[in-house]
């Protein structure tokens, strides 16, 4: 009887329905054949046929059942168009939003560097999550793992480290250069300095021309490689771009190649236009020594990437790199006393994975992105709840039909298979629609990000990871919320439904309760999203309206490079004076001044001060910011000087040195004493400079929008110590400032055609990056909040419509008995009120708990801001009752005679 058992097992290849119907007969026949072959032989042929059947006939039978189910599913879906449309819309929105958001999250936080060869093998000796530069002198030091390396340190590693097959260095920050082509006008282009092996280490070849070679490091040849997007944008993709000359400062560079489309280099979120050999630093960033560690200063500005030789472990490579690195430190700091030298030598290199490249945004964005991803996850839950609800409601409606089928002998498995097929069909359609929605959302996200931060660029793509995520989300949703209702409506008591004949409300009570609970849950889930969107929107509003202490509009910031143009300290005063005078003559300019620090330039000069009558308690108590400013600085910006006077033209080199302090300075160092006439001494090593306080200015935010204003004092340009930084001209205009930019540029060129303009932009442009991330987050939160509301409204509408269609008889009787339309509406709205209230109560709790996550991102508003909660409640109420009103009003217009006859 073993043969029978095997054949019986083989029968499981067929669909259950077929097996139930014919399995017995086939087994019977098989046994007879067995008996017959016992006489005639050839059992082998019998088994061969049985197995061939299992692999050829059985799949055909499955296909037949699927085909049948699909046809049935399509018929059912077409017959209930509202249900189908609502279900697909929910899925499409939920899946689309998640796919778009996940793609962004993945692109910024997880994806490997695009177009880079074998990114998993890339290693970094610098900190991947940091960007910028740091210039340290004897006084400065860094402990622990280094963020960036100096050029000399890189050279030592490149030349002596045997663990690496290749090493390259790239500038950790992106620079905005003023460039010109031929004799054309100056324009802005973004670029970074890289070593000769840059492209080889990344494994990228040129699309046109060539990339850099190690020879670039030795010869310092004036060549430049441009990006594909810059090539398209600036040169319209013309091939004669090779050999053209780009001038940066005074250095003409030859374009030698174009990188492949989509290549961004080694830093995620940044798309350089130009790559320039690091050797050219002295020419393209003049006035700074970055290529040599010349005591007492070290300029750390490079990320270092490399690939390990085969067989070398990360630990071995790290150890070798550190040996070389420390030897370099010892020789550099050899002149420092051994006691302090120990501090400097407490530095090391850490070998990190370079697969995901460097990113300044990663750390900064990761929290908001993850929060947003959680937000859209909630969105998908809402969409799932919609679907579950609709499937439950529909399952309820179909209970009598299903019960009849079960009663007539269909197996539970067969009926469930039918229901699940319908769900899977929904999932497939929802997926396709979701990807389409994601495509649209992608485009919107890109625009949004580019708008709020022009430096930030990232490509979106439906890569395998993203697609897998989408499919998992869709099928997870449908399986969870399609199979459960299917299981429930085909349950053991399903037969009971037959006796109800689908008319009474009793049988569907339980499902309706479920459905109502789900709608409440949806509203509850919406609440935190709406509150979050509200809080973020207000945060951005507040950030853009932060009281800077001066009006942040109609103000131009133009930074010029004096040192490179050959102006020493004595001549710069005269030049600045002449520049300001000329600029002030431009019609439309109200006043002009300058500041060494500039506004929101990211720089701060921290100096040590000794203040008359103040006893410091520690090192921190002796530091203050310092800015060197021109006459009319305070009046140009519009910063009030309530006490004493501002700095003016009479504060010259030959008059007593004076300073103006801000209120933060006064609070910190004078603490209620009258500061006027007191002495503030700037201490720079052995150099001490005394200033007399002549005025106290209001605190002004010129550095950051948030946090406390730090103490700062201002000294006159002619009385300041030798300045290293390029000053920023501040130009207050009467009308729109952007239109004056060209005139200002021309005026500066007229004064000195050789004077490089490093940057020229309006205060709005300058400040945009400060709020960029919050604006992006806020917009996304608002978009997703709206989608959540729409989904919840769709869900509520769907469930109520269904509920009402199930109660047509009851409502018709009420109307026939004389119930007025408004009473019917009131009855249905009244019934919805309970579930809406429950949803809001739960949602309020969720939102209250959820706002903690936002905590630090919120500005100028309490995370549990009552008005926001009240407005969110109102909004949800409005949406919920609107969604409930439509089916209610439709019910009130029922024609009782027709409806009852149909029943």
């Amino acid at each position: 009887m073993r043969a029978t058992a095997i054949y019986r097992a083989l029968l499981h290849c067929y669909p259950a329905a077929f097996r139930h119907e014919y399995g017995g007969q086939m087994l019977l026949m098989f046994n007879e054949q067995l008996r017959d072959t016992a006489r005639s032989g050839s059992r082998l042929a019998l088994w061969a046929r049985a197995i061939r059947d299992a692999v050829t006939v059985a799949p055909r039978e499955h296909a037949h059942v699927i085909h049948q189910d699909l046809r049935y599913a399509i018929r059912t879906m077409a017959a209930r168009l509202t249900f189908t449309v609502v279900a697909i819309l929910s899925l499409a929105l939920g899946i689309g939003a998640n796919t778009a958001m996940f793609s962004l999250w993945n692109g910024i936080l997880r994806a490997p560097l695009p177009l880079v060869d074998k990114p998993q093998e890339l290693v970094m000796l610098s900190n991947p999550d940091d960007a910028g530069m740091w210039t340290g002198t004897w006084d400065g030091r860094t402990d622990g793992p280094r963020s960036w390396l100096t050029y000399e340190e890189f050279e030592q590693l490149r030349d002596h480290a045997d663990s690496f097959s290749m090493l390259m260095a790239s500038q950790s920050s992106l620079i905005d250069w003023q460039v010109r082509f031929g004799g054309g006008p100056w324009e802005e282009a973004r670029g970074r300095l890289v070593s000769g092996e840059f492209f080889h280490v990344l494994g990228v070849a040129a699309t046109l021309g060539r990339v850099f070679t190690p020879a670039e490091d030795r010869a310092g040849s004036p060549s430049v490689v441009i990006s594909y997007s810059y090539w398209q944008r600036r040169f319209g993709g013309r091939t004669d771009v090779l050999g053209q000359t780009v001038t940066i400062r005074r250095l003409p560079l030859t374009i030698v190649g174009v990188t492949p489309r989509g290549f961004i280099g080694e830093t995620v979120g940044q798309q350089p236009d130009l790559w320039i050999p690091a050797r050219l630093q002295p020419s393209v960033i003049p006035g700074y020594v970055w290529l040599h560690d010349t005591p007492p200063s070290k300029a750390m500005w490079l990320h270092v990437f490399g690939r390990l030789k085969p067989g070398v472990t990360k630990a071995q490579a790290e150890a070798e790199a550190n040996t070389i690195f420390r030897a370099g430190l010892k020789s550099f700091y050899g002149a420092v006393s051994s006691e302090r030298g120990r501090d400097y030598l407490d530095q090391r290199l850490q070998l990190n994975s370079g697969a995901r490249g460097a990113s300044a945004k990663r750390n900064q964005f990761s929290k908001s992105l993850t929060a947003l991803l959680a937000g859209v996850g909630v969105l998908l839950l809402i969409a799932c709840a919609n679907l579950a609800n609709l499937l439950l409601a529909r399952g309820t409606a179909r209970r009598p039909e299903l019960a009849l089928r079960l009663f007539l002998g269909a197996s539970r498995e067969r009926v469930m298979r039918q229901l699940v097929t319908e769900s899977v069909l929904l999932a497939v359609i929802g997926c396709v629609a979701g990807v389409a929605v994601a495509g649209v959302l992608h485009a919107a996200l890109v625009r949004m990000l580019a708008e709020s931060d022009p430096r930030f660029q990232i490509r979106f793509g439906l890569d395998a990871t993203v697609l897998a995520f989408t499919l998992a989300a869709a099928f997870g949703a449908v399986l969870l919320f399609g199979v459960l209702p299917a299981w429930q409506v085909t349950g053991p008591d399903a037969g009971a439904s037959l006796t109800e004949a689908g008319r009474s409300l009793v049988g569907s009570r339980r499902q309706m309760r479920w459905g109502r609970a789900l709608v409440s849950l949806q509203l509850a889930l919406c609440f935190p999203l709406v509150v979050g969107a509200g809080l973020m929107a207000q945060t951005v509003y507040n950030l853009q309206r932060v009281d800077l202490g001066f009006p942040a509009e109609r103000l131009l910031l133009v930074r010029v490079e004096l040192r490179e143009a050959g102006y020493d300290n004595a001549r710069r005063v005269g030049l600045l004076h002449e520049l300001l005078a000329e600029i002030q003559r431009i019609p439309g300019v109200r006043s002009a001044s300058f500041s060494q620090l500039g506004l929101f330039s990211g720089g701060e000069s921290s100096t040590t001060v000794a203040v008359e009558g103040y006893a410091p308690k520690g090192d921190r108590d002796r530091s203050s910011g310092m800015d060197v400013v021109g006459p009319a600085y305070f009046s140009t910006l519009g910063i009030r000087v309530p006490l004493g006077r501002a700095i003016d033209e009479n504060d010259r080199g030959d008059t007593p040195k004076v300073c103006v302090i801000d209120q933060a300075f006064a609070r910190q160092f004078f603490d209620g004493r009258n500061p006027i006439g007191m002495r503030v001494t700037s201490v720079d090593h052995d150099l001490r400079t005394d200033y007399r306080v002549v005025g106290v200015a209001r605190d002004a935010r010129t550095r950051a929008l948030q946090g406390e204003v730090r103490p700062r004092y201002f000294v006159a340009g002619q009385q300041a110590p030798a300045a290293e930084k390029s000053p920023t001209l501040l130009i207050r205009t009467a009308g729109d400032s952007a239109s004056l930019l060209t005139t200002v540029r021309k005026t500066i060129e007229r004064v000195d055609a050789a004077l490089p303009i490093i940057s020229a932009r309006s205060i709005e442009e300058q400040m945009a990056p400060l709020t960029a991330q919050d604006r992006t987050t806020a917009r996304l939160a608002v978009v997703f909040g709206c989608v959540a509301l729409a989904l919840a409204a769709i869900g509520l509408y769907g469930v109520l419509s269904y509920g009402i269609s199930r109660r047509t008889g009851e409502i018709a009787i009420r109307i026939a008995l004389g119930a007025q339309a408004w009473r019917v509406i009131a009855m249905i709205l009244g019934e919805s009120a309970g579930l809406i209230a429950a949803g809001l109560a739960l949602g309020g709790g969720l939102a209250y708990a959820g706002t903690r996550l936002l905590g630090s991102r919120v500005y100028g508003i309490a995370p549990q801001d009552p008005p926001t909660f009240i407005v969110a409640t109102g909004l949800l109420l409005l949406v919920a009752f609107s969604a409930a009103y439509l089916p209610a009003s439709r019910a009130s217009r029922l024609d009782p005679i027709t409806s009852l006859r149909q029943q």
């Binding site: 014919y22 007969q25 086939m26 054949q33 046929r49 059947d53 006939v57």
Partner: protein, 117 residues
């Protein structure tokens, strides 16, 4: 009963045609159909159980055959067997298939493809 035109089901698969022929002279159960077909074709056509019941399932749906409620053979000891009978529609379809094949043979003959004429 609204049967589709018999031609819409043509051509028939080998298995279906053989089952129709086997049932033309009387009601049979599955194994009997199989043995009859094998005997009639000198063992050249061996219907397997899967092919047989897959065809039967389809023919039942198409209304070519029907299942008998009772065993037509009261002497049979085995009550578990299911018997099938050709429907009137099934007979029409079989006839239509024969005519189709006849037509084909005529054309082949006219083209000189058939030996011995």
């Amino acid at each position: 009963m609204n049967d589709p035109p018999p031609e819409s089901l043509l051509p028939l698969s080998t298995a279906v045609f053989h089952i129709l022929i086997a049932l033309a002279d009387g009601d049979r159960h599955g194994y009997s159909i199989m043995r009859e077909t094998a005997a009639r074709t000198d063992g050249k056509v061996q219907l397997s159980a899967g092919t047989l019941y897959s065809s039967i399932r389809r023919m039942l749906e198409q209304g070519l055959i029907e299942e008998l409620a009772d065993s037509p053979d009261p002497t049979s000891s085995d009550e578990r067997r299911r018997y099938y009978r050709l429907t009137r529609f099934g007979r029409r379809v079989a006839t239509a298939e024969v005519e189709r094949l006849n037509g084909l043979v005529k054309q082949a003959r006219a083209a000189g493809l058939v030996r011995g004429t």
